[in-house]
Symmetry: C2
Subunit: 452 residues, 2 copies
């Protein structure tokens, strides 16, 4: 019997745990789920006979070491910053480990030692990063194999509410960590490559620099640039592209409205807003406008940011409740935390709501002296509020990788991400059974007319 | 004979050293000037018989301790981050110390120990901070003594080129550390109090939120908010004000033009611009615009930021040379460093140019049931490129404080700033001999009509 240790039983672990339990009989697995909340862990295993659930505190060294030592594989679904201690123990005790998070600098320092001990630390095998890597590399490798030459690559992903449940003027609800949504794009400028030119966009311009895409029969979406488009040039082996872009997908109109909060300064997380306990949301937003005694806040915002007072954009802002004289009631909160607290009320998924993951790659390549464009799109709908699209697309590839490592189908070591064919091919194949399937559309390509 | 140790012989130390040398005979002082450049130190003492000059490295512990131990007072004119080591030694060896820098958190930790050893660590006694504190407190105390009640306080300062030498479309030249000018306003939002309302302005809106002031016969200026207006409420004892504002003075039009650089992202100092060695300035600025094949960069910027292509604003930007195909030639530079390198060529003071310091406080107070407004203005012109207005206004108050500590007129200990009457009164009085003199204008006040 193989012991699988799952650390962290939050939302993204649901579909992972389900997969492992469903397959536990066939493969003779014992699935051990630890979480800081024992109750949460218990809910997730639902009394399954091949599973145990228990309270787990990553800072409890003795428990951590004991558990890892006695496991055949460890999956950390903890927040990314907590992986390192677990990874060190895994290397120490010779146990393979899987995460859905970005490879951190700390994790990378373990590469040499992990290789020496023949331990695999497999990361970035969720949805983004994860399915994006695998599906992009599958097409990139295929174009190369066919003698094509890739010249442009764009990759966009978004987590949204499914169309049927999309009933607010932002066409958005929180289907993932709200804090990450509020802080999205902050830090150094976004960088990408556009027709051979390096482009940099500072945070305060990011949500004005959207582009439009169409995804299958779902219609139009907009995309704002991610911060890190260029780092994948080396990882994917794409040094000669003229366009390299990665972005986040939202419904059309989201970014312009979000930009109002950015322009005002409401997404700032670097200082405490002095009156966060006693001010109302109306007083809060007013603090970011000019002093004018005779104008209502709505009018000041409209004039300050040059928005038509009767526009849909203004309706989006008003709809959040930010103009209401309702007490914030948060002690020592940053502007970003105050904004998050407001949006959590308005962008909450209802009990019956379902979410959706959309992903689209665009490849432009030259073959037989012709330019072709391949658009590869993925749409995954959530099943319910437990097995959300996010949970399915994050957890299922992790689970498949765990299986393949335990059965010996994946034989690698060191710090890895799933970009090699022997990894992505079987995983993408199996994912199709879970309705995670890319649809390809191909056509001739010519440079858009506005650039000629 | 009293030993005075001056550490750091840069621009701001010139007038300080001159004052001390001129008075060295009368007070029986030995003025010892150390700098990382021995040559610079020697230039500043100019073979004066009561002075020595030598190479001084603040990280050379033995030399530092030896010198401080044998001094009666130490003046640190080093960059603010280097004061702490010096201050620790001063407390250790029981030697008083003076700086023109803001009290840092580190310095503040020495307060208790300094009091125990009866050592004075006097800070913020330059121009801003320094003369601003002293001149403001003098008026604030006087209003209180006369039975008035202060309700509003604004304080603005700027270092500019003197009108006669003001011959570029920005009406600005570097009269101080260029790096600080390029990074001005970055960090957390600016905070101030306006007619009873707390106001917060994020960096990317700062240079759009200027107000206008008039200074004596020099005409109009504009002011953008400093980051730290509110922290002086407690220091000045002004908890009941409805308006509290501190700002930086520029000539009209500067901020709108600077805002172009801010909006594009050219002032960002948090990442390396990939092609800083080989790109031209034109390629650099183009990297922050949208990709459009048929439009020149100038046109793209004008459209992106909604600037009339033939406006004075556009002329200011063009005048900097940022649209020119001249190689940057800086390895691994941030956008802010690239911008600074360009402006250092254009905003350099010519050999015969003179600078100017402008400062203006506005006090609104109630007395005998009437509202009064007192405007207190200071204009100081530089003498030449050594004794600049900046050097005079930073160095002279420091020098006067040194004299008063040595003669026993100032008897204090612990970490202090010059806000008590027994300190500011004699210092301001003596500063008048150096043409550092505030002109007061007073009138009845009523709330501006646009707010009624």
């Amino acid at each position: 019997m193989k012991n699988i240790l799952i650390i962290g039983a939050g939302l993204s672990a649901s579909s992972l745990i389900r997969y492992l339990l469903v397959n536990s009989e066939k493969y003779n697995w014992k699935v051990n789920v630890g979480d800081i909340s024992e109750e949460l862990a218990k809910t997730k295993i639902n009394n399954h006979k091949n599973a145990t659930a228990f309270k787990f505190d990553v800072n409890n060294k003795q428990q951590r070491e004991e558990l890892i030592k006695n496991s055949d594989i460890v999956v950390s679904m903890l927040p990314a910053s907590m992986h390192f201690e677990v990874a060190k123990d895994c290397v120490k005790f010779g146990v393979n480990m899987v995460t859905a998070s970005y490879v951190s600098k700390e994790i990378l320092t373990l590469d040499e030692e992990a290789k020496k001990k023949n331990v695999l630390l497999l990361n970035e095998i969720g949805v983004d990063p994860g399915i994006d890597h695998m599906s992009a590399m599958q097409v990139i490798d295929k174009i190369k194999e066919n003698g094509g030459k890739l010249t442009q690559f764009e990759s966009n992903t978004g987590g949204l509410v499914a169309p049927k449940y999309d009933n607010n003027p932002w066409n958005y609800k929180f289907t993932w960590n709200p804090r990450n949504v509020v802080l999205a794009g902050q830090g150094s400028a976004s960088q990408f490559l556009h027709y051979g030119k390096f482009k940099y966009i500072p945070y305060h311009k990011l949500f004005e620099r959207t582009e439009r895409i169409k995804i299958l029969d779902l219609g139009e979406f907009e995309v704002y640039p991610n911060r890190d488009s260029l780092k994948y040039q080396d990882i994917y082996g794409l040094q000669n592209l003229v366009t390299m872009f990665r972005g986040t997908i939202r419904r059309v109109g989201y970014s312009r409205a979000w930009n109002v909060f950015v322009q005002l300064g409401l997404t700032d997380d670097t200082y405490i807003y002095t009156n966060s306990l006693n001010h109302t949301y109306r007083e809060f937003i007013n603090s970011f406008t000019k002093y004018e005694e005779t104008k209502p806040v709505e009018q000041k915002i409209a004039e300050y940011l040059n928005i038509h007072p009767e526009s849909h954009l203004m309706y989006q802002i008003r709809w959040t409740g930010i103009f209401e004289d309702v007490k914030i009631g948060l002690p020592n909160a940053t502007p970003a935390q105050i904004l998050q607290s407001l949006l959590e009320k308005k962008w909450q998924m209802e009990d019956d709501d379902k979410d959706m993951i959309v992903m689209q790659h665009q490849f432009v390549y030259e073959i037989n002296n012709k330019m072709r464009k391949l658009t590869s799109s993925l749409v995954v709908f959530g099943e319910d509020k437990i097995h959300t699209a996010m949970s399915i697309t994050v957890g299922t590839p992790v689970a498949i990788a765990v299986k393949m490592i335990l059965t010996g189908e994946i034989k690698s070591n060191g710090v890895q991400i799933p970009i090699s064919k022997n990894m992505y091919q079987p995983i993408l194949k199996e994912l199709e059974q879970y309705n995670v399937k890319f649809i390809d559309e191909e056509c001739d390509w010519e440079k858009p007319k506005e650039y000629v």
